[in-house]
Structures are given as C-alpha cells and as structure tokens.
Amino acid sequence: MNKLPLTHANIVKLLGLESLPLDERKEILESASELVETRTFNRVMEVLPEAKRAEFSAMLESQNKEKLPDFFNQNNIDLVAITEEEVEKVKQELLAEKSV
C-alpha cells in the first residue's frame, strides 16, 4: 500500500509536538524549511541539462535574480510542484522518525 499523502497534515500534530516549547517547534520548522530549500535547489540542478545548468549558475552568481522566474518558465521547471514534493518527502521522513 502506498504511503498516505500528508499534504494536509500539520507536522506539529503529526509528530505530537504540541507540548514542545514554541522556540523548539520553530527550530524544527526552520530546519525542515531549509532542508526543503536545499533539496529543491538540488532537484532543479538535477533536471537541468548541462548547458542550462551553467547558464543558471551564471545567473545566480551574477545575482541576476530578476530573470530567474522567466528562466524557470522557459525551461518548464515547475518550482512550486518540486517544492510541494520535497515538503511531502520531508514530512514522510519526519513521520518515520516518530517511532519511539
């Protein structure tokens, strides 16, 4: 059986962290967000062809940020969908970590 999607699951509730101090909850959420962020970046790099990857790197390096959204559109990269998938993945991993 496939894993149940956790799209609408609140990770705080899912892990039973309601009674954890707020700062610690924030810390976990921040860590998870950073993980998603880094993985999303890796995914984008992974799907880009070599030439485009160089172009993308150059854009990032030159801080030519304004062109990034257009770049994604031209290369059919759905950043939002990738992010969604990565969030789901992190949630599943955290759920697996829940076992005591």
Partner: protein, 891 residues
C-alpha cells in the same frame, strides 16, 4: 621474583589463625579484587627495576579496600604501617610470636604487591602520557620525594627499635601500600567509566555521549516517565473512581506527552540536521563551495518571491481566489504552510489554508504582500498573548490585526483550536465591532453607528461597504450570462459564498430554497436544464465547488468600477475586486459531498484537512442537534441521512449559547435531488427502476441477504490465518485474563458483572454507520455476549478507512517490526501478506473504536465490553503475527 618462594611456602594448617574461604576477611574480598596467582608471580620484588618509583599514596585512602579496615586506612593515610593479622604457618610453631607476625606481613605484602603491580604499571604509563607540562612533572617528582622521605623516616624508627631486617621489611610494606593505593585508584577510574546513566553527572554524560547526549538524555527521561505512566495506568484501571489516582494518572500522562514531544523533537532535529548536511554535500556536486553562499543568497531571494512569478505559465490559475493566493504567497510561505498542513496544492485548499490569515491582512490594509508574512516570526509564546479585556478595548485596528495574526500563527504551530482562546474571541469581537459587524462572518450587516471609529476603521467600513455593494453588482451581472452557464455558476456562487463566509449556511438555504428566481433563474429553467441532461457533469460541479466561481475578469472589474462609483473613492478598483472575492475565508467550516460519497465522508474530510479535531468531529456528529430537515418536513439525525448527492454541503456549526456544536446539511440546489433518509434513498432507487442495494435493505430492516464481500485487491488474508483467528482470540483471552489477575486490566468476569449492573434498555441493539452496522448480541439475561460488525462499504471507501486506521492505531514503524525475524530472501513473498494482515487488523480495531465513540459514558456496559473487546482483538492479531504492531490504546 622467584616463584619458588611461594611454591616452597608451607601451606597453613586448618586451625586457628589460618585463612579460610569462610573467614570474614576472605569472604569480604570481592572476586574482582582477589589477587591471582599470575599476579603474584608477575609481581616484581622491591628491588625490581619494573617497580615504578614515582607512585604516590592517594590523598584519601581507597574506599572499599578489601582487606583494609577503616582504621588501617587511616594509618595508611598518616603514613604508618598497618598491623597485619597473625598467620600461623605450619612448621613455624617454634618461631617467636613477633616472627610469625612478620611472616604474615610478608605474605600479605607479597599478595598485595602482586595485585598492585599490574594496575600500578598501567596507571603509571597512563599518568606519564598524560603529563603535558614540565610543571606537572616537577610537582609529581616533589610528591614522590616527599613520600619517599616519609617512608624512610618511618623505616628509621623501626630500625632503631626492631633492627635492620625489620626496617627493610617495613620499607617494602610501605611501598606496597602505595602500589595498592595506586591500584585502587586506577580501579576506581575504571569503575567510573562503567557508571550507569543515573550515576553520571551531566558533564560526564555530555563528555561521553557528545552529540547524541540530548537525544539519549531525553530517551532516558522518556523511559522513566513511561514506566511511571504504566504503573499509574494500571492503578487507574483498577481504581477508576479514585480521584487521587486519577489526578496522578492525568499528571503522569501529561508529563509523558511532554517528554515524548521533547524526545521526538530532539530526534527530528538531529535527523533534519543530518539530512541537511547530506543535501548540502549533494549541492557541492553542482556548486563550488566558495560560491555556495552567494548562490544560496540568490536562491533565498527566489524563496521570497510570490508564486505568481514562479508558476509555469501553463498552470496559471484561473480562479480569482487562487490568483489571489498565488499573488500573496511566497515560495517560503508555501513551504511553511505545507509543513503546517495549511494545504499545498495550489488550488482552493491552499487558499482556505491561508485564507484566515491572508484575508485578515488584506482587509487590514497593512499594505504588505502575504509573501513577506512570516509565520515563524508571527508565532509567539502563549504568555505574550495574554490580554485583558480593558487592554483589548484600548487597542487600535492595526494592533488588533497584529494580535489576531499572532494568535492564528500560534494556533498553526501548536495545533490548538484558536476559538478556544478567550483573548482571541475578544479580539475578534472588538475587530468586528470596529467594522460595525453585528455577527461574525456576516459582512453584509453593517450598523449605522459609527461612534468611536478611528479614521482607519472608517476606511475599513468603506471597504466593507464596497464589498457589499460589489456583491450585489456581481449578482446583477450574473443575470446576463448565458443560460448554459447559469446552472453551473449558480451552484458555484452558492457554494462559493458559503466558503468565503459572505453568507451563513442558513442564508444560502434561504436564498436558494425560498427565492426560486434568484439570479434570474427560475425553477422551470433548472428543470428544463435537468431534463435535457446535465450541462455540468458531477465532476465539473465538484471542480466548480472546489475552485469557486469563475466569472470573467471583465465582469468583476466592471462590477468593481460600478461599486466605486457608488461608494466613493478611497479604495482602488483592484483592491475592491480582490477584497470582494477574497474576503474572510475559512470562518465557516464546510465539506462537500463528493460523487459516490456521503455526509459522513464530507464531514470527516474536515478532520483530515485539519480543520476539525477528531473530538470535535465526534462530538458534533453524535450530537442530537445534528439533525436535518427533509423536504417532507421530517427531521432525521445526520447519521441517518442516507440520501446525499455530490455538491451537498455539510457545515460545522460551532457551539453558541445553549446550542452545542453540531453539523448542518445544506442541500445542493444545482441538482434535482433533495437530501433524504435511508427510506427516501430506497424509494429513489425504486423510482429509477433499480434494485435497492443489500446494505440499504438491511439498514431499513428489510430482509437482508448476506452482503457481498467487498473486493479489496490490496488486502489479502491467507485462509490459514482466517482459520487460526478463533484460536488466536481464545489464546488472547486467556492471556488477558492472566494479565488481569496481575492487576493489568479488567478481567472478563468483571466485565460481565459490570455489564449486568447497567441497564441495557437504552442501548440500541443495532447501530448504523456509513460503513456498516454494529449489533450487540445479548445473552438470555440481557447481558452483552458479543458484537457483530457488518461492513457495507465500497472497496475504494474501505481502502480509505484502512489508511486512516493505520495512521490511528498502528505503530509508525509497524512494517519494520513485522519484517524483523523474516529471512531477507523470503521477505518479498511473506511481507505483503503480513502487512496486509496487520492493516486489516487496524481496520477491525478501528471499527470497534467507532462503535465505542457512540458510548461516551466510560462506565457503561457497552463501553466496558468494547474496550475489552478491542484489547482482546488487538492482542490476538499481534499474537498471530508475532509482533507488537499496535499503539497503546487510550480509551
């Protein structure tokens, strides 16, 4: 050393003065401290070059020295020789008493010397390697010299009194004591390493376990609190009426939850940190490390951009509500909301997820995009949210909005129900008062009183008025659309208005049921449309329901302009358009019946989406106030509402005044059906010339044929397992009975007795659910003998139910548990069956849990019986699988 010295030593006779195993001093010597023959043989003589000369006596006498009494230890500390016990040696009777004593001392010394040498050598080497500075070495040398001086002083005294020979012996003894002391010092150090967690100080724990210290610490605490909880749980089961035990049990439970959260938090944090490191390692494949930070900066900038920029053009949202959502949300906010279950899909779900907060911000006119809204920053500690009524009264609009947003963000973080906060309700009350709203969610009602309004609130009032007028304008424009579109749009507007909270559920009901010509559509037109066949398929209707109304932008823009002309300036057309359609969302909690679905499913979907808790759902669903008035005027409880159709709305109504929280059902006006009871549904089937399904006839008490077993391809229970079930249950019952005698649970006999004490007249023999029926089987004396469950669910529904049951009842690592012990080479054959059996067991338990929910009185006979039954069943399944797969049940 010459071993022959010992071999030639005469063995003491078994008479007075000899050492025997049963002698106290011998018996006191612990095995690990006993000196072996090898040690004795390896022990160097006093003249041996292996003898470390730098050894010093300990500052305190070694504790627990096996053959040293406290008095002797004091003497050692003071540098005096100890008096050794006399040892009678065979063949030495003629020797003077003093000589015998001396001999004993030698013997003892040699033993001690041998024992001490190995430890001393080791300690000496370790000591030497640890010396890092010359100052330490000097200090050590000084200490050694001082010791030697003291020893020599003592030896000289002895020499004066007893002669040279005795002095020499005393020297040996003295040095031996030093060695022994070192030996025990080393042993003590070794013992320290073997300390248990409890014996160690926090510093020692940190030093030993390093990075895993936090997790280990918390796991240790968790084990302790769990042990305490188990004890109190058993006590509470046996003495459920004791207030003291109950209080202690509740406190222990709370403590356990807290410690468990800390442990899982620590584990999660470590896992995230590790995965982040791995992800960064992977990034290094694409980016040079030196450029990494620069790249990260640009990437983070991207995270702050709104989704409108980032979505691929082909996925550009068409719904205005969705457009709003993507315009107002950043990628990073999306991640935060995704993690907090705010809804990730860029559709209606996400808009509802953010609606409460986003709408508030837009309505507040704070001017910042939602993308910059930082949930993490907004969430503050509870104590920071403490507000008095007076303080709230003094707050202005932006302050109130800020505080409300903080409450909302905190609720997301804590999983709490925000409406339970008195402060939040007061804030909302004040906020609505500033808007001039007499009732929550009813933005149409604006009072004429403007006293006490600030300029800011006056602007909000204009905005609210704009919304109201714009809404009317939208309705006018609605009349101009084509006939084919009307059907779909009316439905959508109806649902949409409920969803965005412009109208209450009862308002919608009134509009569509009592105003047959609403929006220019007559009942005849609707009938014509229906007779000609549906213009919108159920899927389209559902899609419409989900994505809200989709009027052309030109229409809304035009309406907005009209509105502005009517209400005057102060609000831009864009803002008015946006606000009108995106105003307070998520205030009304409603679920939509899907095709093939039911009211229960629509309501339970609210739990899955995190908008209601299980408890809220259960309380509202079983509440007597959850009744539905049918077209015939008959009122039925929502659980008996058999006939529903795609698009019908199930609305959760929070408790207010004397009316408890309950569900209401709003009939979907876009179809020709009305909601109805089971009998109505059967009638509808017959009218269509179709056969009434077996489960429905069963529910109606008609002759019920044996229902067909649902086809569930994912669940396959081997026949042998089914055969074994009876035996398993019998074994489990015996096991539980045995446990009961040990104070674990309520024994079966007591269950029967307690059941008999409670009247069963009020208990329905059959209880109906959406997924089937449950029936208590009573014995001749009216006591519960057993319960039968019959399912009437579609395979699709069943899979959903099982999925939920797995989440609720099985340990998250149940697959791993089931895997243990199964040889790797046969796992691919055996595991699917084992997993299927475990998951099926979860659903079996879940069904009984659902029955149990119908009996909130935990002392009722049904409740007793069901709790016992659930435990028995779970244990039976676990025994069959040979694995602990269930979570602890908390009834």
């Amino acid at each position: 050393m010459n071993p022959e010295r010992f071999e030639n030593t005469p063995v003491p006779p078994e008479n007075e003065g000899t050492l025997k195993p049963e002698d106290k001093k011998v018996a006191d010597t612990r095995p690990e401290e006993a000196i072996t023959q090898e040690q004795i043989e390896a022990a160097p003589t006093a003249e041996s070059p292996a003898m470390p000369e730098t050894l010093t006596p300990p500052e305190t006498p070694p504790a627990g020295t096996p053959s040293t009494t406290p008095e002797e230890a004091e003497k050692i500390k003071a540098g005096h020789p100890i008096e050794m016990p006399a040892v009678k040696i065979e063949g030495a009777e003629e020797k003077p008493k003093e000589a015998q004593k001396q001999h004993g001392r030698i013997w003892k010394f040699m033993r001690a010397l041998g024992a001490g040498v190995e430890g001393a050598k080791e300690g000496w080497r370790e000591k030497r390697t640890e010396r890092k500075t010359k100052a330490e070495e000097k200090k050590e040398a000084k200490r050694k010299a001082k010791n030697n001086r003291e020893i020599e002083k003592e030896v000289k005294k002895i020499e004066k009194v007893k002669g040279k020979e005795a002095a020499e012996e005393a020297r040996k003894i003295k040095k031996g004591e030093v060695i022994i002391a070192k030996k025990f010092e080393a042993k003590q150090e070794k013992k320290d390493i073997k300390k248990t967690w409890d014996e160690m100080t926090e510093e020692e724990r940190r030093e030993k376990y390093g990075r895993t210290f936090e997790t280990r610490e918390k796991l240790h605490q968790l084990n302790k609190t769990r042990a305490n909880l188990v004890v109190l749980e058993n006590l509470f089961r046996n003495y459920p009426k004791s207030e003291k035990i109950k209080g202690e049990y509740e406190a222990a439970l709370k403590e356990y939850e807290r410690v468990r959260a800390e442990y899982i938090g620590a584990k999660s944090w470590r896992m995230l940190k590790e995965r982040k490191r791995m992800a960064e390692e992977e990034s290094a494949k694409y980016v040079e490390r030196s450029k990494f930070e620069k790249f990260r900066k640009a990437w983070r900038w991207l995270g702050d951009q709104n989704l409108e920029k980032l979505l691929p053009k082909k996925f550009e949202p068409k719904s205005r509500f969705t457009k709003f959502a993507v315009r107002m949300m950043s990628l990073r906010t999306l991640v935060s909301l995704g993690l907090l279950g705010g809804g990730m899909a860029i559709g209606f779900g996400s808009a509802v997820g953010i609606g409460m907060v986003a709408a508030r911000r837009v309505m507040g006119g704070l001017g910042t995009a939602f993308g910059s809204y930082d949930l993490m920053r907004m969430a503050v500690e509870k104590k920071a949210l403490a507000l008095t009524e007076e303080k709230i009264e003094e707050m202005d609009m932006p302050e109130i909005e800020q505080k409300m947003a903080e409450f909302e963000a905190r609720a997301k973080f804590s999983g709490e129900r925000i409406v339970r906060s008195k402060e939040y309700l007061l804030l909302r009350q004040r906020y609505n008062k500033m808007f001039g709203l007499t009732e929550d969610r009813d933005i149409n009602v604006i009072t004429e009183e403007k006293k006490g309004f600030t300029p800011e609130s006056a602007r909000k009032e204009r905005l609210a008025k704009a919304i109201q007028t714009l809404d009317s304008s939208l309705r006018e424009k609605q009349e101009k659309v084509t006939k084919e579109e009307k059907h779909r749009k009316v439905a959508a507007v109806g649902v949409g208005l409920v969803s965005v909270g412009v109208f209450s559920a009862s308002d919608i009901k009134q509009i569509f049921q009592e105003k047959p010509e609403f929006a220019g559509i007559t009942p005849e037109q609707v009938r014509d449309t229906v007779e000609r066949g549906p213009i919108a398929t159920p899927e389209q209707i559902q899609d419409t329901v989900r994505t809200e109304t989709a009027l052309p932008d030109s229409v809304t823009e035009e309406a907005a302009q009209d509105t502005l002309r009517r209400v005057g300036g102060g609000v831009t057309a864009e803002a008015a358009t946006r606000t009108a359609t995106e105003a307070p969302a998520a205030e009304i909690i409603a679920g939509t019946v899907r095709q093939g679905g039911s009211a229960w499913q629509a309501a339970y979907e609210l739990v899955r989406s995190g908008r209601l808790t299980e408890t809220q759902f259960a309380e509202a669903w079983s509440n007597h106030a959850s009744v539905v008035e049918l077209a015939s005027g008959t009122r039925v409880h929502i659980s008996e509402l058999g006939l529903t159709h795609a698009g019908d709305q199930v609305v959760y109504v929070a408790a207010e005044g004397n009316v408890p929280a309950h569900f209401e059902v709003v009939d979907f006006v876009g179809d020709r059906f009305h909601v109805g009871s089971n009998a109505d549904l059967a009638e509808a089937f017959r009218a269509e010339g179709k056969q009434v399904p077996a489960w429905l006839r069963e529910a109606l008490g008609e002759t019920a044929p044996v229902p067909e077993a649902p086809d569930v391809p994912t669940i396959e229970i081997p026949e042998n397992v089914l055969r074994e079930t009876q035996a398993d249950i019998a074994r489990a019952t015996n096991e539980l009975t045995r446990q009961a005698t040990e104070g674990g649970i309520v024994p079966p006999a007591e269950v029967a007795q307690r059941a008999a004490e409670h009247a069963l007249e009020t208990a329905p023999e059959q209880i109906n659910f959406d997924w089937g029926t449950a029936r208590f089987i009573l014995d001749t004396e009216g006591r519960i003998a057993d319960i039968t469950i019959e399912e009437t669910v579609t395979p699709e529904m069943r899979t959903t139910y099982i999925g939920q049951a797995i989440m609720d009842h099985l340990n998250p690592n149940y697959r791993r548990v089931l895997e243990s012990g199964v040889p790797e080479e046969t796992r691919h054959i055996i595991m699917p069956s084992r997993i299927a059996r475990a998951e099926e067991a979860a659903w079996e338990v879940d069904r009984l849990m659902r029955v149990l929910e119908r009996f909130p009185d935990r002392y009722s006979s049904q409740s007793y019986f069901l709790r016992f039954k659930i435990q028995t069943l779970a244990r039976a399944r676990e025994m069959a699988l040979g694995a602990r797969i269930f979570r602890t049940f908390r009834f």
